[in-house]
Amino acid sequence: MNKSDIDISMFQKAKVSASEKEHIAAPASTVLADAWVRLRKNKAAVVALFILIAIILLAVFAPIFSQYSFSATDYENSYGAPNAAHIFGTDQFGRDLWVRTWMGTRISLMIALVAAILDLVVGVLYGAVSALMGGKVDVVMQRIIEILVGIPHLIIVILFLMAFPAGVGTIIAALSITGWVNMARLVRAEILKLKNQEFVLASQTLGTSKFQIILKDLIPNTVSVIVINVMFTIPNAIFTEAFLSFIGIGLAEPQASLGVLINSGYQVLRNYTHVLVFPAMVIVLIMVCFSILGDGLRDALDPQMRK
């Protein structure tokens, strides 16, 4: 800066508008747009999002546009290696693995989705109510959780599968019984921390109802815990289903989830690696993408965001 540059005329009173005094630099935006902008900055998350979208599209459309049906068998072509006709090869029954993998993805994603929704609805609400009510309600609710955790999961699942036909619905229902417990515990702990925060007290003094407080004040502020936990719930649900097929009480043929496919692939791993590799790759890809996206979402949804 050169002093001589400064004209004497500049030494005059300037007008300063009032609004400039209360100036806020960044432009305003809506919650979602804002989150989206932030998410877009996170390259890994964007890539993950696109991969996930691609996977979902494939899961929806690949089976529709394939010349093969997921259940059509071809015994002359069992355990066929990947080739032009069957991109992912074929399985024991000569069924096209490309179609089966995407069908399986469909089912696994459905299971994941329901598990996640359940986690988000039942788990979060249960935890929130338990924490906010406190006292005896809390004690009872916590004991209920302990009991649910204490009764062996497998017994419940088998009972379910006995009572209802083995299908996606039954499996989801069976997984639902205890799937949300962890979330409830985490949310509860988080809300116990939050519930004496001043903004909660503020809502109380304004006469806001407890339910509204849970919905508007508490849950949004546990987003990061919730998102992280969902990231664990999704693989858990998918793998619990896979475990059921591992012990032989999962989905019924010819339906297949990724878990079922991986399980049957694992059994022929030695000689027909492709049967395992493709579904396994899809499942790993899904998990990785969910995790990265989850981390990105957590950051994006957090208006204050860690530095």
Binding site: Y75, E76, F93, A166, G250, E253, P254, V268, N271
Partner: protein, 529 residues
């Protein structure tokens, strides 16, 4: 007998080698695998192959199967049969001893057999005595006294058995675990502890047990009190529990097992391996139709289903482990008239013919008023069974346009549903207890829901006639007819396949025998090269 659904198969040998993986010096320990736990060794409580296998190595009956599946005198030296073929007198070998040095007497047989007939027997095998031995059934039901039962110790070395009717294969039966002797004194001393640990047992067979853990398996050592110990070549052996097929193959390749059973996916890759071997079991997997079901109660429907299944494709492409197409209920290779097998004599009683199947199907649909929207197959939850069910599903869909739902339940659950008449079709299996067609045909005489509620007078009289026949040819004729009636005419069941087993055996192991019935594995004759 009750192989039901469990595909447990016991096999394998190891050329020594401690499990720790130290490289074994060759020819030390023979190690075979079983895929199910050895939950009990009490012979009237055990019903699983794994337990039979262990008991067969450490105990012995009057006879023992030789390498050609023929019974050879074992604890019994000689025997006579009365002219009416009803009284068997067995003369025990001289100087046969329990592993503690006490001598094995005819009373030990009487004690064990009575136990098997008695109320304590929980293995469900009492019929195998009750059906043949005089007053056994009555004893079982508590209406006869022990003294009246047709199994008596004439003296310490003479054991006399009286049968209800002539039974040409009775000697075969005595090779079974249920017919092994038990030392009464020792048993009483042990009380509840009997057979829980190696020291709670006495041994009469080629080996003694040195270590026993139901979930790990058993460690065997040559029994030096065994009468034929000079012909037992291998001193140390193991029967190990390996539940996972892929893991078993790994263990075999790592040298921890001497023999392994291959699942279908590994057969192609190993077919040219000099260690590869292939056997067929006397065991049939079949569809049990529930005759009271409105849909499959229709005989044309059953025929359609039975004919719509390409069993060769199944065994060739899906199972690929040496299993044979189930062209009849009686397994390939089972005894017929001495020159030809039963199967050869009776031919294909069920066949694959999609065109005809469709005809039958349409006829059935007409009779039923409409084609069924779907049928349900009840199956147990092991992977082979599920693969077979999947195959059936696609065959029915392809050849009949019939949708088949697979209802997977635990083995216990499947059993209970069938018992409760709560099924349409069930996929189940039966393994021969002895080398005679009767071991199968007998089952459909009682009309239980489990057997599809099949109660047919013609069939029952054929079986009854066969049972009382003294003439072997007439008896065989009855049985051939019975199979035709059951499978071809009435289609109460539809055989699917006869199980085969593909194995790899280490090249230094020889004479590791696999029997197609009863006790699959026999260590006694094995040796290292």
């Amino acid at each position: 007998g009750f192989t039901g659904d469990d595909n447990s198969k016991t096999e394998s040998t190891e050329k020594g080698g401690e499990a720790s993986g130290e490289k074994e010096t060759s020819g030390e320990v023979l190690s075979v695998a079983t895929n199910a736990e050895v939950k009990t060794l009490v012979q009237w409580a055990a019903s699983e192959e794994s337990a039979f296998t262990v008991n067969n190595q450490v105990q012995e009956g009057l006879f023992r199967m030789d390498a050609d599946n023929k019974p050879q005198p074992a604890l019994c030296d000689t025997y006579e049969v009365s002219d009416d073929k009803l009284v068997y007198t067995f003369h025990l070998r001289d100087g046969i001893q329990w592993s503690n040095g006490e001598s094995i007497t005819a009373n030990d047989f009487v004690f064990a057999w009575l136990k098997q007939m008695g109320t304590e027997a929980t293995n469900g095998y009492s019929f195998i005595m009750n059906d043949y031995i005089v007053n056994a059934q009555e004893y079982s039901e508590g209406t006869a006294k022990a003294e009246d039962v047709g199994a008596k110790a004439v003296d310490d070395q003479t054991f006399e058995v009286t049968l209800k009717s002539p039974t040409p294969y009775f000697i075969n039966l005595t090779t079974m675990v249920m017919f092994f002797p038990v030392n009464e004194k020792f048993y009483t001393e042990q009380g509840d502890k009997y057979a829980l640990a190696p020291e709670n047992m006495l041994y009469s067979g080629p080996y003694t047990i040195t270590e026993y853990d139901p979930s790990v398996g058993v460690t065997l050592a040559k029994n030096d009190k065994y009468w034929d110990k000079d012909n037992v070549q291998i001193a140390d052996a193991k029967i190990r529990v390996v539940k996972d097929a892929a893991a078993a193959l790994s263990a075999y390749q790592a040298g921890e097992l001497s023999q392994v059973q291959l699942d279908s996916s590994n057969v192609t890759a190993n077919q040219d391996n000099p260690e590869f071997g292939n056997e067929i079991d006397f065991r049939t997997t079949y569809i049990q139709f529930n005759l009271t079901d409105p849909v499959v109660g229709n005989v044309n429907m059953r025929k359609a289903i039975a004919m719509a299944i390409d069993r060769t494709a199944l065994t060739k492409n899906i199972l690929a482990d040496g299993s044979a197409p189930g062209t009849g209920l009686i397994a390939d290779g089972m005894a017929g008239d001495g020159t030809k097998t039963f199967r050869e004599l009776n031919g294909e009683v069920t066949s694959f013919d999609p065109a005809k199947a469709k005809e039958y199907y349409d006829k059935a649909a007409e009779e039923l008023g409409s084609a069924p929207s779907e049928v349900t197959m009840l199956v147990a939850d092991d992977s082979v069974t599920k693969a077979v069910a999947t195959f059936l599903q696609s065959e029915l869909e392809k050849n009949l346009g019939l949708k088949m739902v697979i209802d997977t339940k635990t083995a216990q659950g499947r059993g209970e549903l069938m018992d409760a008449n709560n099924y349409q079709m069930g996929l189940t299996a039966w393994g021969a207890d002895y080398d005679d067609a009767m071991t199968y045909l007998d089952l459909w005489t009682n009309g239980t829901p489990y057997r599809g509620n099949y109660a047919d007078d013609t069939y029952n009289s054929l079986i009854a006639d066969a049972k009382s026949q003294t003439d072997d040819t007439a008896r065989l004729q009855d049985m051939l007819q019975a199979e035709k009636k059951l499978v071809e005419e009435d289609v109460v069941v539809s055989p699917v396949y006869h199980r085969g087993s593909a194995t790899l055996t280490k090249s230094n192991v020889q004479n590791l025998i696999t029997h197609p019935i009863g006790v699959p594995i026999e260590l006694k004759y094995a040796s290292f090269k």
